[in-house]
């Protein structure tokens, strides 16, 4: 492996990040593990990796490493150490910790940043502190590790139990940071519980939120946005993560945190006190002490890190990574971990006690927490994080549940953390499992799986209740590779077909690299555009909750700037080029010959956030952003994977959560069902007979903006907006300058709210009309068609709207989609006389006539005079019409036809006279279709050689051809693919 990696180290390292990102993308942590978890356990491996690592480092140092690199670096540093449990201090799990190498393989260490500026760090740090919630300061500590690992963790939340997810998240993050994938599973257990405990910390803030009453699921936006920012800052901070970092950290971070609290929560006293207390109380040195602390605490990064390091150091058989990190740093860190950093750890540890009691109705805090963790990831490694961020609502609800079950878990996890506390039966189980392994490789995989099992058990509290003696052994995983660990292993896990495909982990290098390239670019994008734009979006909220947001807001614009550049610097040229090819294709699509340029989907976005312009040449990247910001896709996946997760593992957890919380979704569904049943005689009443009116909810949510999430349960009136608010929301969407994906999502959520409240009136029509228009402009035919279908029924119910306009669209749509003549005929026959007099409908009918007769002159004239958005639909047919025309010309004109005529008649020009550019474009197009162009010797005029072309004309395969034949889907296809990368 080393050989392959070396030459491309930079790529690889990026790729590693990508892989991690992918993992995170992959919705469940197991995927992640698959992706990145190769478990080379041999020394050789390590060395190779180190080698690569060094090379990378060197390269990086040359080009001053950027933030993300730094983050990764941290990971790297820790990971080489084979500490059994990276972040989870006391190896809770019997499974011998796999050599952390997994992390290595998967995530080649991004070049360590040159020992960066402490000063920078501080500065950046300060900002986060201000902006973030209490947890944020921790995050900063956690920063790198969390960031590195976070992706995978993040994914996890998709599982139904949110609390679980979030907790996992943390632990994952840790695991990742330290060891790579392998470690994470072990950590999960303890961390999960810790997550729960931690929440209290953030709690106060949430309560304040509540006071506002404005709080909604949407609220998560804010958090996300902010987190994003803080993340950015974190990254910066991370960059500076040198050995010096830790020592200095306690001092300043604590104050800043305190300050934050004061301004924000007004409970500074409490918090601070608790922190102090914690410091004092939890001061106990030693790994054990540190471990619990980290376990309990979400933000434990420093401590956990330290502890890990310490452990790793002491235990490591492998030589610690040479050179990169000043050796002295290690010991010192270790020390700090074990005895030091008491300040950090304690606060967290102690806080649980203080805050735990409040049962929090609002989930906001959770989302925020998760975000905190996530966001670092997104910036550094995972391009798609931004998308996911906003979706936090899902988490939110979960989080609430977690807290209820928290005490139990905490205990368990704490217990689990202490090595001696494992039930003997579990140990026996592990021994049994390991005994089956035939070689090192298998063992590695086996251990990993075991970690998962145990993690799960400890997180759902069954660690001690389960009868491990009777627990069936998991099937021995198939292991690919030669056992030397040269190739990453595949953990053969049956994947649900709903699960998004993870990039092939079978060490298909070229594939991976390709994906990396994409992801990288996306990454870039994400950090600059993605997070930014979200932040911006969220701004409406920013003002509502508490005072802390206003404070933070102004800072937002300033921070992002350094990042894009830094990240870009990192991008290997090769990949950029590869990407550019794709960009070009996409560009070609968006910039058709002589067409009025379709409104770029993203233009508006860049308008929305000036920061986008920081990344000038990133058109393709911008497209990447689409991916990132394509919330539907995201959501869909999340929902699916949620489903999947649910049936997979956490069933028990879910149950307990449900028991704990009254307002859960499932409960709501149950009650709705009950109502439904009680409406009738109770036994098997037909669905049609249910009195839907009595079941129709009336929304109470006052939030104007709301993320779209496909309902998986009965709607909660608290999250549904009533009609007045929806009207405002529609206005907001209409007036926003944000991009189509944002609008689309908002409109979908409005549509959903309308539907669940069974509102069918002018507003409904307007919403669909607005959406259909937006979809047309963006070329989203699928969405357009949905709206058109709805509009048809709405109009037929007699609700007024722009009926004629949409009749015109639907006519064009039938014509250009090769709808059957009968459809066309019947829809024309159904036109009312008034409709036939309508300008737009007339235009559509004229277009139909021109198409039927092949009258290209007429067609392109109509093309230029298209009313409303007819133009966008005609656009779909332009290529075909042009080709037909060219064929016609080649057969009827002799000997030649001036190119200028073609350009003029086939709509390449807007005016009468074609200039050189237009002629060039026209010539290019003609040639691309097999036409021959000659230059007349006399007039030096370019001419289409009709006779020569007659036999050579052909319709080129569309460059963006896709299997399903819909070029428009191709973009989505691309997005989907890159989303999976």
């Amino acid at each position: 492996m080393g050989n392959e990696w070396d030459p491309q180290q930079s790529v690889v390292s990026d790729g590693a990040a990508v892989a991690a990102g992918a993992a995170s993308w992959g919705w469940n942590h197991q995927d992640a593990s698959i992706v990145s978890s190769s478990t080379p356990s041999t020394d050789a491996n390590y060395q190779q990796q180190w080698y690569a690592y060094y090379a990378a480092q060197a390269a990086q140092q040359a080009s001053v490493a950027d933030n993300s690199a730094t983050t990764a670096t941290t990971t790297v540093i820790t990971s080489p150490n084979p500490p059994p449990l990276p972040s989870a201090p006391p190896p809770p799990a019997p499974p011998p910790p796999l050599p952390s190498s997994a992390a290595w393989n998967a995530v080649p260490p991004p070049p360590p940043p040159p020992p960066t500026t402490y000063g920078t760090y501080q500065q950046t740090q300060a900002q986060p502190a201000e902006t973030q919630e209490p947890g944020s300061s921790y995050i900063q500590d956690a920063k790198t590790p969390a960031a590195a690992t976070a992706p995978s963790t993040y994914t996890y939340p998709s599982s139904e139990q949110y609390g679980y997810a979030s907790s996992n998240y943390q632990s994952y993050g840790y695991g990742y940071a330290q060891q790579g994938n392998e470690s994470y599973s072990q950590n999960v257990g303890p961390y999960a519980s810790s997550g729960a405990t931690y929440q209290p910390t953030s709690y106060p803030s949430t309560s304040t939120y509540y006071g506002n009453g404005v709080y909604q699921q949407t609220g998560s936006y804010q958090a996300a946005a902010y987190n994003g920012w803080s993340d950015a800052s974190n990254n910066v901070a991370a960059t500076s993560a040198g050995s010096s970092y830790y020592p200095s950290y306690p001092g300043y971070s604590a104050p800043s945190a305190a300050g934050t609290y004061q301004t924000q929560y007004q409970k500074p006293g409490d918090y601070y006190a608790s922190m102090q207390q914690a410091t004092e109380t939890s001061g106990p040195p030693g790994t054990e002490a540190a471990a619990p602390a980290s376990a309990t605490h979400q933000a434990p990064p420093p401590s956990s890190y330290a502890s890990v390091v310490a452990q790793g150091y002491s235990q490591t058989t492998q030589p610690p990574p040479p050179g990169t990190q000043p050796p002295p740093a290690w010991p010192s860190q270790g020390n700090s971990a074990t005895n030091g950093h008491p300040q950090y750890v304690p606060p967290t540890a102690s806080q649980p006690n203080t805050y735990q009691q409040p049962v929090r109705p609002l989930q906001q805090p959770y989302s925020q927490q998760t975000n905190l963790f996530k966001s670092p990831v997104k910036i550094q490694m995972n391009p798609r994080m931004p998308q996911t961020l906003p979706q936090t609502p899902a988490y939110v609800s979960v989080a609430g549940k977690v807290s209820s079950g928290k005490s139990l878990t905490t205990d368990v996890s704490n217990a689990a953390l202490k090595p001696g506390m494992f039930p003997p039966s579990l140990r026996a189980y592990v021994e049994r499992a390991l005994a089956r392994c035939k070689n090192e490789a298998q063992k590695g995989v086996c251990q990993q799986m075991m970690k998962e099992i145990i993690t799960k058990a400890s997180s759902d509290g069954t660690l001690f209740t389960k009868n491990w003696d009777t627990e069936p052994l998991f099937p021995l995983p198939g292991v690919t590779g030669d056992g030397k660990g040269d190739q990453p292993f595949t953990v053969k896990k049956t994947r649900s077909r709903w699960e998004p495909a993870t990039p092939n982990n079978d060490a298909n290098l070229s594939n991976i690299q390709k994906d990396m390239g994409k992801a990288l670019l996306l990454n870039q994008q994400t950090s600059s555009v993605g997070s930014m734009s979200w932040v911006k979006r969220d701004s409406p909220w920013a003002n509502k909750p508490k005072g802390f947001q206003p404070l933070q807001h102004p800072q937002i614009p300033q921070q992002p700037q350094p990042q894009p550049q830094q990240i870009q610097g990192q991008i290997p040229q090769v990949q950029v080029q590869g990407q550019q090819v794709e960009q070009k294709n996409l560009l070609d699509k968006t910039k058709p010959n002589g067409k009025r340029p379709r409104k770029s989907i993203l233009n508006e976005d860049s308008d929305a956030s000036g920061e986008d312009k920081e990344v000038p040449e990133l058109v393709g990247v911008t497209l990447g952003t689409i991916t990132t910001q394509n919330p539907e896709e995201n959501k869909r996946r999340q929902t699916r994977s949620k489903r999947f997760e649910n049936c997979k593992g956490g069933a028990t957890v879910v149950k307990s959560f449900v028991k704990g919380r009254g307002g859960s979704a499932s409960n709501r569904r149950a009650s709705a069902l009950k109502i439904a049943l009680s409406c009738g005689d109770g036994n098997g009443q037909a669905v049609e007979d249910i009195d839907w009116d009595s079941l129709t909810i009336k929304g109470t949510c006052q939030e104007i903006e709301k993320r779209y999430l496909r309902l998986t349960s009965a709607p909660d009136p608290a999250t549904v907006r009533p009609e007045e608010v929806l009207t405002k929301a529609l206005k907001m969407v209409e007036s926003t300058s944000k991009n189509y994906f944002y609008k689309c999502e908002q409109l979908k959520s409005i549509r959903q709210d309308l539907t669940v409240q069974r509102i069918r009136n002018e507003l409904t029509v307007q919403v669909y009309e607005v959406h259909a228009r937006a979809a047309l402009e963006a070329g989203d035919l699928a969405e357009y068609n949905q709206c058109q279908t709805q509009l048809k029924t709405l109009y037929s119910e007699g609700i007024s709207g722009c009926c004629n306009e949409f009749t015109a669209y639907s006519l064009l749509y039938i014509i250009f989609q090769n709808g059957s003549n009968r459809d066309l005929l019947s829809s024309i026959a159904r036109l009312t006389p008034e409709a036939r007099e309508d300008e737009a409908v007339k235009h559509s009918l004229a277009v139909r006539g021109a198409v039927a007769l092949g009258n290209y002159i007429m067609f392109f004239r109509l093309y230029k005079t298209a009313p409303n958005l007819n133009f966008y639909l005609m656009d779909l047919y332009v290529e075909r019409m042009r080709f037909e025309a060219l064929r016609c010309m080649s057969r009827s004109y002799r000997p030649t036809l001036p190119l200028e005529v073609i350009a003029r008649t086939l709509g390449f020009t807007n005016g009468a006279q074609a200039d050189k550019d237009v002629l060039d474009e026209c010539e290019e197009w003609v040639k691309a279709h097999g036409g021959q162009v000659v230059v007349d010797s006399a007039s030096s005029e370019r001419q289409f050689d009709a006779k020569a072309s007659a036999a050579t004309l052909f319709m080129p395969e569309p460059e963006d051809a896709v299997a399903h034949g819909d070029a428009n889907l191709a973009v989505n296809d691309f997005l989907t693919r890159s989303a999976q990368a």
């Binding site: 009968r822 005929l825 019947s826 024309i828 006539g849 002159i857 009827s892 004109y893 030649t896 001036p898």
Partner: protein
């Protein structure tokens, strides 16, 4: 039982004995006549009035079971007759479908085809009563679905008799009834499966079906071809229908011509005006005139005037393509005039001339459009030659510049 009741019962018993007699003698037409609901001279009226007055029709009707297990069917059937005559078509349809269901079950067991006529009567009743029931439901503000139900039941009938030896001869009738339902409902695509099973049958020659069914079948499939813009196939089928149609059924001939005329026009065959007047197809008269004169304006006007009609019948798409034929005719006229003046240069038609002709026709076209129209003519091989953009001249082939259209398959 009171006197009138006894009288009514006796009439009902007569009806039952009529049915049992026809069953016993396997008299198909008598049986069919007994079952007819909405035909003239049917027993239906008598039976329904009897049913209005009798108390226990079941007892009498069950007597038919001695000959065939049709008692239940008769019960429903007479109920359908009663409802029909009380103008309760939805109820009539519901009873009728039950009756038809019972009959079909029994009919499956009969080897011979003697009762085919009765089956057809029932199928016809299902369709017609279904239509009426739909109308009634629509008037009452309900979503009409009875005709659709009749459609799916007829598919069942079709399945029961097609491919079943001698009974298959009745399948085409059912197919035609299905066509009528599908065309009425606008679900023409459903015809495809039926057509396939008729067309692909290797054991049964199409010519063996009754002529009236064949004509109907060809008429509908010809219409389908018009929808699909498949002019030559449409011509074949509609011509078949026309040739075999009863010459005295003017209405039927008109229906066929309504589609055949535009199809033939598209193929370059123009009808005599007398034919159009004879069958009251005046909407095509101007179209034909325009084609003869090369008068684009007249064609457009004629299309505009009957737009709705043409759209509804589905011939509009065929007719509008005649525009290039009109241009062709116009150019041919110009060519002939030029030939009279100067045979040597006749094959060069200058654009100005065409443009002038257009102006004269008050058709607003500029040079580009005319050029485009000429290019399309050449492209579609409606005329031979080429267009010189430089000198703005259409150069026609010296040999046969306007190849014969008639019967040629349109591109």
């Amino acid at each position: 039982m009171e006197g009138s009741g006894g009288f009514v019962d006796r009439r009902l018993a007569d009806y039952v004995s009529l049915i049992t007699d026809s069953l016993a003698s396997q008299d198909g037409s008598a049986f069919a006549a007994a079952l007819a609901i909405n035909a003239t001279n049917s027993y239906a009226e008598t039976v329904s009035s009897c049913l209005d007055h009798t108390k226990d029709p079941a007892r009498i009707l069950k007597q038919v079971d001695k000959h065939a297990p049709l008692g239940e069917m008769l019960l429903h059937h007479t109920r359908a007759m009663q409802c029909y005559h009380q103008n309760r078509y939805v109820d009539a349809y519901n009873s009728l479908e039950k009756s038809a269901n019972a009959f079909l079950q029994e009919y499956r067991n009969w080897e011979s085809t003697w009762a085919m006529e009765a089956l057809h009567v029932i199928v016809y009743a299902l369709r017609t009563v279904g239509e009426m029931a739909d109308r009634e439901m629509a008037m009452n503000g309900k979503a009409p679905d009875k005709l659709k139900g009749a459609g799916s039941f007829l598919m069942k009938v079709f399945g029961a008799i097609q491919g079943k030896g001698p009974k298959r001869v009745g399948a085409l009738y059912v197919t035609c009834q299905l066509f009528k339902i599908y065309f009425k409902l606008g679900t023409v695509h459903m015809c495809r499966s039926v057509i396939r099973s008729i067309d692909t049958s290797r054991f049964f020659d199409f010519e063996d079906f009754p002529a009236k069914d064949r004509v109907t079948y060809m008429y509908y499939t010809g219409r389908l071809e018009v929808f699909n813009d498949n002019v030559s196939a449409a011509d074949r089928k509609l011509t078949y229908a026309l040739e075999r149609c009863d010459p005295f059924k003017k209405a039927n001939i008109r229906m066929i011509l309504k589609y055949l005329v535009p199809v033939r026009l598209a193929l370059g065959v123009l009808p005599k005006e007398s034919l159009l007047t004879k069958y009251n197809l005046s909407e095509y008269i101007d179209v034909v005139r325009a084609l003869k004169r090369g008068d684009v304006r007249l064609l457009r006007r004629a299309l505009k005037a009957n737009e709705n009609n043409f759209f509804r019948s589905g011939v509009y798409l065929v007719l509008e393509k005649l525009e290039s034929h009109v241009y062709r005719r116009l150019l041919r006229k110009i060519y002939n005039i030029q030939k009279q003046r100067d045979p040597g240069r006749a094959h060069q038609v200058r654009m100005e001339v065409i443009l002038k002709a257009m102006k004269w026709l008050e058709v607003d076209m500029d040079m580009d459009e005319v050029e485009c129209s000429m290019a399309i003519l050449i492209h579609k091989a409606l005329m031979k030659g080429y267009f010189s953009h430089k000198s703005r001249v259409v150069v026609l082939s010296k040999q046969d510049p306007f190849p014969k259209l008639a019967g040629r398959q349109q591109q």
